[in-house]
Symmetry: C2
Subunit: 289 residues, 2 copies
């Protein structure tokens, strides 16, 4: 079976690594903080000391990190994965990144004779653990076929969106629509609460009527809950996704008025100390104390 490398062992990366091991692939992992890698070593993974070492001998190299800067740190430089990957390897960037950066990364990979797929995923922690992700792939179809057996170990659906960058664009489009659903919902719930409505009744009606998306159904209880200890999706990642979406829109001349305002709301929430809190906490910028 293909030798697989996984770079970045956050909540998502760790869950993907476990499913790759379960499917029987020999797996090498690297993480900036080594403690998370040791947990996977106990389950059979080899632990590398650098992205470069991790990529050596790999058939498929997957990255799952937080943002463009983290991706650059993983792939570039003397100890980066591009320097270690053998010529036949397929590189799979699963992080949610700016299309501009993933296209540049694909060019840098191509200069070394390596194929890179941008392959961000839909679905968060639970879906990653259940190998129930949807993967949105941009890049060469032949490279996708080579990586497919590994991607099938972590996902339920693989969607080839088109040339390099298409996966990254699709992920940002999905997330900006979700992010704006969250701010509109936060405003509606706050108005209802201040107007004195019974919030259980409001929650039941909103989630069962025309605005009741899977996201809305999941987030309404988190927006209204008094217990706010759980982080399903950190607010700072949504702010980052909106920033990348707005940069792309700027490049393409697309006006995005509600996305722009929503991004400022996530920024304000972050400035209130909520960057690592659940994105539902964006509602806090609307509160009166």
């Amino acid at each position: 079976m293909d030798n697989v490398t996984l770079l970045g062992l956050g909540i998502m990366g760790s869950a993907m690594a476990r499913n790759i091991l379960k499917a029987g692939f020999p797996l090498t992992v690297y993480n900036r903080t080594r403690a998370k890698a040791e947990e996977l070593a106990a389950q059979g993974a080899r632990v590398a000391v650098s992205p470069r070492q991790a990529a050596q001998g790999a058939d498929v190299v997957i990255s799952m990190v937080g943002d463009d800067a983290a991706s650059q740190a993983i792939w570039l430089g003397e100890e980066g994965a591009l320097a270690g990957a053998p010529p036949q390897a397929v590189l799979v960037e699963c992080s949610t990144l700016s299309p501009a950066w993933v296209r540049e990364l694909a060019q840098r990979a191509a200069a070394r004779g390596l194929a890179l797929l941008d392959a961000p995923v839909l679905g968060s922690k639970d879906a990653a653990e259940a190998a129930d992700l949807k993967i949105l792939v941009g890049g060469d179809a032949a490279a996708l076929e080579r990586a497919r057996p590994v991607l099938e170990a972590i996902s339920r659906e693989i969607h080839h969106m088109g040339p390099g960058g298409s996966g990254a664009v699709m992920k940002l489009v999905n997330n900006l629509i979700v992010a704006v659903q969250a701010t509109g919902l936060a405003e509606g719930l706050t108005l209802a609460e201040r107007a004195g409505l019974n919030m259980e009744q409001v929650a039941s009606l909103i989630t069962s009527s025309s605005p009741g998306s899977p996201f809305v159904k999941a987030v309404v209880p988190r927006m209204l809950a008094r217990d706010r200890s759980q982080t399903h999706f950190a607010l700072r990642w949504m702010r980052k996704d909106l920033t990348y979406a707005l940069r792309l829109a700027d490049d393409l001349g697309v006006p995005m008025p509600t996305v722009a305002i929503a991004r400022e709301m996530y920024r304000m929430a972050g400035n209130l100390g909520l960057d690592t809190a659940d994105l539902a906490r964006v509602v806090d910028v609307l509160r009166q104390s």
Copy 2:
């Protein structure tokens, strides 16, 4: 059976009138332009020449018109329905109006010994025709019980939200959440299109993933369609609903940044001549020509 009066025979009012007739209630109708009333006369309704005449002898008087001004014209003045309604009548305002106006109307009704329910509906044309509406009721519970048999003839669910104005607030909250889902979606679809993605693939992913609310599923094809002849929900009504929601938020001191921006987008679309077009056409303010 109770004598029922229905004031306002637009798309929604006409469908409700037909279901009230089907349920066997004696029905009197009034509409500003008489032609629409004549269609219902052919189905057994009595046609009145004024709201006042229509309300005479009624047990339940329902209004279904476009905005506060139209509601005021129906209820107030010498020829208005308040002047005609007998003391035992229950007045049911099903239009989507500002909570400030429905509370004033309830006070004016009470001054004449009449009970008024604010009772806007969730669901548009198809739901109205199928008697599948959800009714959101604010006002006195005893008055609701008196009106219930008639409301059951037009709806699937009746939700008593609380005191007078609660139904109006709930309807605005629902619609503002939907309105912002539409502008965020319009921005996402426009970005995807300009970035060169396959829009059938994008539509399929968005509607089947976390942002896929019943509203999103229904409106995506209308936003992408080349044939734009059908109006499911006129853009000007959404702009009006957002205006009422923003006035309420202003009264209560609730910030609604994304709603405020969305309202401006519907206003811009209206100024482009799209006021009577489907609300999906809000996407047109993002287009390049």
